[in-house]
Symmetry: C2
Subunit: 208 residues, 2 copies
DNA sequence: TCCGTATCCTGACACTGTCAAGATAAGAGG
DNA sequence: CCTCTTATCTTGACAGTGTCAGGATACGGA
């Protein structure tokens, strides 16, 4: 949900030409700005001062809401994990109700998320910047894992190998496609690409 | 901006500064120092000045050999891809000679590399810092991909889905294990872990 | 109304990467 | 042996970064 930041965002009845001293909902605005920053400059070009500038606020303002940069990225990662689960749920909602189809749909949602928000995907899975001992983030991350385990169990798998195989193949596809490294699949048109992904993911499913 | 910082740096005339003005093989030393830096401080804590300090050289010395930080990381990534292939070759050398076993061995080598050098693995596959249009790096990266395609072809698979499935499952396992996210597999003792990985990778192999 | 306090700003510091200019050593040609 | 050229390395500077300290502002009760 990248917003286009056209101009100021005053409360409708506020003074039109002067930005109020108090932002109103700076915390949410900073999270939006942080995701825009990640999308624009990548994980390694991320700058806290630039995020503050995007939100139209001084360079030290984020500290009051998030402590430091790690705190901001921790909050963003927690929100990201929730949206990550939502992307899977969106695919599951339009898939056949049998467990195997639901599991494949979850894999497609996994990949959808990585393709539509590649840098946020990296923040969740590969970055060392979020604080994963944070309770909120830890809970959000565990929820994602639990969802996988539940789906595999319902699809008939019960052991470690079943879980790991499905997880690894979905994650591997997501990561390689998000990084633009798997062009043989990534350059296909959306429909053909989805069909290909379904074929691949089905290989890792527990044998019936 | 520390202009009047007291430089308490007594260059001892009496004490022999045995370090010669010219290093001798600074380029190689910087590559070693850079990998140490990545291993110690992670991808996001990497500092060019710190690398120079590790090599016992001034902060601007790396510029002459690599241009800028991107240049250093590009050279390191090229070297990394060659070691990445070497890790696969090491596993292949001790595996059965049939194509399927060789392909599984390559997958184990893929994972070995990610586990023994996790940050370097990220530099190769997820970082935006290396310049992948660099000829040397491009060639090294293509060699890794060609090796995969060759192995899959010999193992009887010929289509895109075959290649992608094996690649994705090896890469997914490597990335999740290197990040410490797949503890159900990662916490196993080495021998049991390898057996588990073989079981998982075989699922993605082309059907005979 | 008034005041406590959450919110936000300004200024400073130690870092970072990169550029410019000078110092030093190695090697080639006489 | 002596100069000259060139590659190598150092020093110093600048803008940008994250974070801390202290001051300014305005919201929300009392």
């Amino acid at each position: 949900m990248t917003q286009d930041t056209p101009h100021l965002r005053p409360k409708p009845e506020a003074a039109p030409d002067t930005r109020p001293y108090h932002h109103g909902d700076l915390r949410a605005a900073l999270l939006v700005a942080a995701e825009d920053e990640l999308a624009d400059r990548g994980m390694e070009g991320f700058s806290l001062r630039s995020v503050a500038k995007r939100a139209g606020v001084s360079h030290a303002a984020p500290a009051h809401h998030f402590g430091d940069a790690k705190g901001l990225l921790t909050a963003l990662a927690a929100e990201g994990f929730r949206q990550f689960l939502a992307a899977q749920a969106a695919r599951e909602a339009v898939a056949a109700p049998d467990p195997a189809s639901q599991l494949v749909a979850a894999g497609l949602g996994y990949i959808d998320f990585a393709l539509s928000r590649p840098t946020l995907f990296r923040l969740l899975w590969q970055s060392e910047r979020p604080d994963f001992s944070n309770p909120d983030l830890g809970q959000a991350a565990r929820a994602a894992y639990s969802h996988l385990v539940d789906q595999v169990t319902e699809a008939g798998g019960g052991n470690t190998a079943d879980e790991a195989a499905v997880w690894a193949i979905a994650h591997g596809l997501a990561d390689l496609l998000a990084a633009g490294r798997m062009m043989s699949v990534g350059s296909l048109p959306a429909e053909a690409r989805d069909a290909m992904l379904v074929t691949i993911i089905r290989r890792a499913l527990p044998a019936p």
